[in-house]
């Protein structure tokens, strides 16, 4: 059998696994792999400016295409710089494979130059990780790594390859997929759970579908089945931040997002429901609010591919461990087989109409400043009018919540945001990754003035690969979300939440060869957005918005869904220590 070097084996595996794009950054411990990628005919390497950028690009690529994101970084600082993105992918269940270089095996443990214990550091922020000590093992490991990253509950997998293993040779034949005998995610539901779920749905008077990122991960088919189930039952649908787009925001049955910055109707409907069907969501504290007041009079069904999500936070009556798509398929089939008819939900819907009438997302405008909500709403209508496929990413903060509230998503995989980890610095590289995977789509990052500076260096990456991403900064000159919490909790003592010494974003963009646009006030908003959309290359927009706006509705941490603050007049400015201690 012909022998190949470890580096060539790795690249051959990537080709065999259908990898088209690798986001990476070279260094001593990965030079052999970089040489194997030199002028590669099918694998495109995207050179980032910081390894964290590579990980978020891979996430953006993965979330928008459904394919795993691939990252290549060097040992030591290359690997440690990737840790935030790896953790982000773990929290949000994003399929990602990160190849890290390592010092040669004989130097491991000697504090060699650029040695870091990558396996130790990433052990608990990966779904699984490997140190490969022989080129003969490499192909098997790489194939298994992709399998583990993409099946079951997806997540990041690290493959750490010492430099001598990249250079040494071994006989190579395309490996059979050998997976740990212990790895067998359950994708098909037990019949009993499906049966119980169908009967409970058929009997519920106040049902609600509470959906999450699992629907997106399960694939577009799952989103289609969710729509079918909603149509069959007539139940209202709400979603977590991660699940937006799985159910169309334009549907009459859509209540908007639930949770801390969810709508009044979504949170009240959760609170008053007699049946909660949780589909691929995990009862995160941002969603539940105070636990003993969460959907208190409901029975609960939980569909999740990860058994450890079940009863972790909220005890449920029926647990369905399965892939969301497969479980929904089973539920719909049984519903039809039993010839169940829609329950009359008129009364339930009329109560919901009452909550909707509070118009909890409304905001006051003063004609002088751009309200950030208005900027998002205008961006939404302008992008919709282009008729293009639109992919939105966000950074983390108020702008992220406003985007979730005021931008409507009608399809899955079009909304990319850092939910679980809440990583400032995610959105801009994620937009670059999404654009790599979707060259014809309109990829826009909705950013905050503070967050965008966390990976601003990636302006250069977009320029280099001529990626026409749009970076739309809602510039309120504050870490707005921090300021908002300081108003809620610390009597408006703005400790270090002012964005001092901001750069001139327009000039900064121009320095990288981007088009820069500044939107100063309400009169420029429409034209500025239009100009951004009509400009072919990458565009950075410094949209000056009201500095002191806060994001409502809001359930302060530790409060119940029914204790929503709807507007600033309800903010007291002080909090008990118990409430302060919650995140």
């Amino acid at each position: 059998m012909a022998e190949k070097s470890g580096a060539d084996i790795l690249v051959q595996c990537l080709v065999d696994l259908g990898v088209e794009v690798v986001f990476g950054y070279p260094g001593g411990a990965v030079l052999p792999i970089y040489d194997a990628l030199y002028n590669h005919p099918t694998i495109k390497h995207v050179l980032v400016r910081h390894e964290q950028g590579a990980t978020h690009m891979a996430e953006g690529y993965a979330r928008s295409t459904g394919k795993p994101g691939v990252v290549l970084v060097t040992s030591g600082p290359g690997a440690t710089n990737a840790v935030t993105g790896i953790t982000d992918a773990l929290m949000d269940s994003i399929p990602m494979v990160v190849i890290t270089g390592q010092v040669p095996t004989q130097l491991i443990g000697t504090d060699a130059f650029q040695e870091a214990d990558t396996i130790g550091i990433t052990r608990h922020c990966t779904k699984h990780n490997y140190l490969v000590k022989s080129p003969a093992k490499l192909a098997e490991v790489v194939h298994e790594a992709f399998h583990i990253a993409t099946t079951g509950r997806p997540g990041p997998v690290v493959v750490d390859i010492p430099k001598n293993v990249q250079i040494a040779t071994a006989p190579y034949a395309r490996p059979e997929l050998k997976v740990h005998a212990s790895y067998h995610p359950q994708t098909k539901a037990d019949a009993a759970g499906i049966d119980a779920a169908v009967e409970m749905l058929a009997a519920a008077e106040r049902p609600i579908l509470y959906t999450g990122g699992g629907v997106i991960n399960s694939g577009p088919q799952a989103a289609a089945l969710l729509r079918e189930l909603a149509a069959l039952t007539g139940a209202p649908v709400t979603s977590t931040l991660m699940g937006l787009g799985a159910f169309p925001a334009s549907s009459d049955q859509w209540l908007g997002m639930l949770g801390m910055h969810g709508t009044y109707e979504a949170n009240w409907a959760m609170n008053q429901a007699d049946l909660v069907l949780c589909v691929g969501a995990r009862f995160d504290d941002r969603v539940t609010g105070r636990l003993d007041a969460f959907a208190p009079n409901s029975r609960k069904i939980h569909i999740d591919i990860d058994r450890s999500s079940i009863n972790k936070i909220v005890d449920v009556d029926v647990a369905i461990v399965a892939d969301v798509g497969s479980a929904l398929d089973d539920i719909i089939a049984l519903w039809k087989q039993r010839n169940h008819q829609k329950v009359d939900l008129t009364e339930w819907w009329s109560r919901i109409a009452g909550w909707r009438a509070r118009k909890s997302l409304d905001y006051a405008e003063n004609g002088v400043e751009i309200m950030p909500q208005r900027a998002i709403a205008d961006l939404y209508s302008a992008t919709k009018a282009t008729g293009k496929d639109v992919i939105i990413t966000t950074e983390v903060g108020q702008h992220q919540m406003w985007a979730a509230q005021h931008f409507g998503f009608d399809a899955p995989n079009k909304w990319l945001t850092s939910g679980g980890l809440g990583t400032m610095g995610y959105g801009f590289p994620a937009a670059i990754g999404a654009q790599m995977g979707n060259p014809d789509s309109l990829c826009i990052c909705i950013a905050g003035d503070a967050s965008v500076q966390m990976n601003i260096q990636e302006l250069g990456t977009a320029s280099q690969y001529r990626l026409p991403v749009k970076l739309f900064i809602l510039n309120n000159e504050y870490m707005g979300m921090v300021r908002q919490w300081q108003e809620l909790t610390y009597e408006s003592r703005y400790s270090n939440s002012y964005s001092d010494s901001l750069p001139d974003f327009v000039k900064l963009g121009e320095a990288y060869g981007w088009t820069g646009i500044r939107i100063e006030g309400p009169a420029d908003l429409e034209a500025g957005i239009r100009q951004m959309l009509e400009t072919d290359g990458p565009v950075i927009v410094d949209c000056r918005v009201a500095k002191m706006s806060n994001c409502f509705p809001m359930i302060p941490s530790g409060a119940a869904h029914t204790d929503m603050l709807l507007d600033p007049s309800q903010v007291e400015g002080v909090m008990s220590d118990e409430a302060k201690a919650l995140v």
Binding site: H124, H180, D577
Partner: protein, 171 residues
């Protein structure tokens, strides 16, 4: 504000895992990362080809946390099976301890007498000391060590618990 603690129960968990580099760190790290308790942990390979190890973990926590621990362990790629021996019907658990006691005269005789009651074996002796080997449940060993403390305990080494379900079947 004060931080409240929940009531906890002791559980003995038995895991079979692929015998590969880092597996122990993966498991121990899961406990620290998620704030679970480890009272004891033992590990040794148990198959002829050295491919599979058994890990026995004694932990404690409220029932909900115990369920989470099991689900979280089960989620690790190299973990084959997790059994909660405490929940799973009758099982045998044993721990081995080496107990060094020093003393002379009446103390020395009393130590030997107690060792006999507990079926502890003398595995080392000098004129002024013994090392006893004792096996049994954690409680039994605790009791023995407690008595020896009153006589002249020098030091103790314990293995931690191993356990198997009773009856003819493998779990």
């Amino acid at each position: 504000m004060h931080i409240q603690e929940e009531l906890s129960q002791r559980h003995v968990l038995s895991l079979t895992v692929s015998n590969e580099a880092g597996i122990l760190a993966r498991i121990a790290g899961l406990f620290t990362a998620r704030g679970y308790n480890i009272d004891s942990l033992t590990v040794a390979d148990i198959t002829q080809d050295h491919g599979v190890s058994r890990i026995t973990i004694v932990t404690n926590g409220p029932p909900k946390v115990i369920d989470q621990i099991i689900a979280q362990l089960d989620r690790l790629v190299p973990v084959h099976k997790v059994t909660d021996l405490t929940e799973n019907g009758p099982f045998v658990e044993r721990e081995l301890a080496l107990v060094k006691v020093a003393g002379t005269g009446e103390d020395r005789i009393e130590a030997l007498r107690l060792a006999d009651v507990f079926r502890a074996k003398v595995v080392d002796t000098t004129i002024e000391s013994f090392i006893f080997e004792i096996t049994g449940t954690t409680d039994k060993i605790d009791n023995f060590v407690g008595l020896m403390r009153q006589i002249g305990l020098v030091e103790v080494g314990r293995t931690g618990v191993v356990g198997l379900i009773r009856g003819k079947d493998a779990n």
